[in-house]
Amino acid sequence: MENSHKRKIRGGFYLFAAWLIFQYLMVGIIGVIHSEPWPAFTLPGFKNVFDRGEFIEQKVPVFVVEGADGETHSIRPSRIFSDIPVSHHNGIMRHQFNPARFSSGGRIKMLTPEGYDWLRARIEEEAGLMPAGSGQILVVWSDHFYRIRGEEMRQVSSVPVDTLFVMRAVP
């Protein structure tokens, strides 16, 4: 009885150990093709390294709308998604508003009327801006380059590199 119990548990451990290795391989493969699977028994690797003296590059997205005043306004994603924990903001922008993901569709993200109205309402609530007329919402991605000078780091340039057009689908 005791041995049978131990045998079952030991077998379970063997299977689970094999599963851990298999799922790690899957995370590596699917993570490259699509996005990181969940749930998985893995932790992030943060494998990037840094050479002293080089520029630090950061891709930064902003929502851009034309306000009722006719001026163009930039709004940080943290203001649009202020109800959602801060740690999620970069991931949301990278996966949902990344122009590269929409290249086949002409860099246009079509939102349902419900989704578009939600985004527009958030812009109005958080930034106090009313997208004018057509109500076009853009997401502009820029490469910000920083360089260290002593104990300061200066942003040496900001280059807009890509734009996503957020459009309202016709019901």
Partner: protein, 372 residues
Amino acid sequence: MMRDRIDRWIFDTFGISAHGLALYRVFYVLFVLVIISPGHKPFLYFSVYGTLPSDFYFPPPGPMMLFPDFPPFFFLKGVELFLVIVLGCLLMGWKTRFMSIATGLLILTGNGFAYSMGKINHDLLLAAIPIVMAFSNWGSSWSMDAVSGKTRRPEVWPVALLALMLGFMMFTAGFPKLLGGWLDINTHATYGHFIKQYFVNERQDLLSGLFLDIDNRVFWESLDWATVIFEIGFLFAILRAPVMRFWCALAILFHFMVMMMLNISFISNLPVYSIFLINWDELAARLQGVGSLIEGKYRLTAPFVLCGAMLLYLYGTPLFFLDTLFRLESDLLALELLVLMAFLPLALNRIAAGTVATVNVAMSSWQKKAPE
């Protein structure tokens, strides 16, 4: 022979008594209720995702793909509410195995939707602990189940399973670093991450300013090496309980230093470190009187426990109040700082004890080998 060694590791290495398991159960529940505070930002906060339109539903590959959209707000509110009730029942040890599994599944359900917008947090062990420990019969003592005689014999293999999960996960954090060039002496990965967090993400609280003044390549490279050795070494540390205890103490020191330098906290692994770090049997022996006192009075205390859990759900943990007293510029919470600081003395004590024990073993081994 190999099978015997595996059996010894699974069934004997992480021995813990029924009272020790019961105390760990109470610790886990209180940690989730009082520190993590379900239903409140930033941890187990699910209901907000029920207010989002379906356009933003971007499930990660896995079971969440079976769902077409975020569930309604009230469903996720219900998940938060049930989680708190179930945790209250787990604290009292009422239908412990069922409540343990329900706790894990409710956390997984809520997190599954929270991670369906493009960002995943790697706090899976917080949900895995109650599911795995359900099979340790951590409700066999100091519980309503024990009073009613509905208990099973305690098992220790679930603790070994948690060790395997933790060791493997830490290995997956270290292995890409090994491949990515962290050990190359010409690159400084920790320094690069620090600079990016300090200047680009403006995480400039606590000791980050002091680290900015350190312009020493040996120092920064040694941090790279220490990180890789620590993370990969975890997989080997699980083989022996004293080494695992030492490594979990190192893990707390590691998270504390990351918080001090990068202003990033990761407290969700603390419950799993704690099972190896703390001598639960010794602590349970000290608290024997308190446990026995409460054991006979569950009917009296149960309503208070559930009311307390509901108050925590409605208003959040009183520890959130710390943020109004001690405001940090980064998105770090004062609560996270306090929790890691509370664990630090114990971790340092274990590191010191482990180091002394290692030196003693090395010395006695050297003396035996030395010619007389």
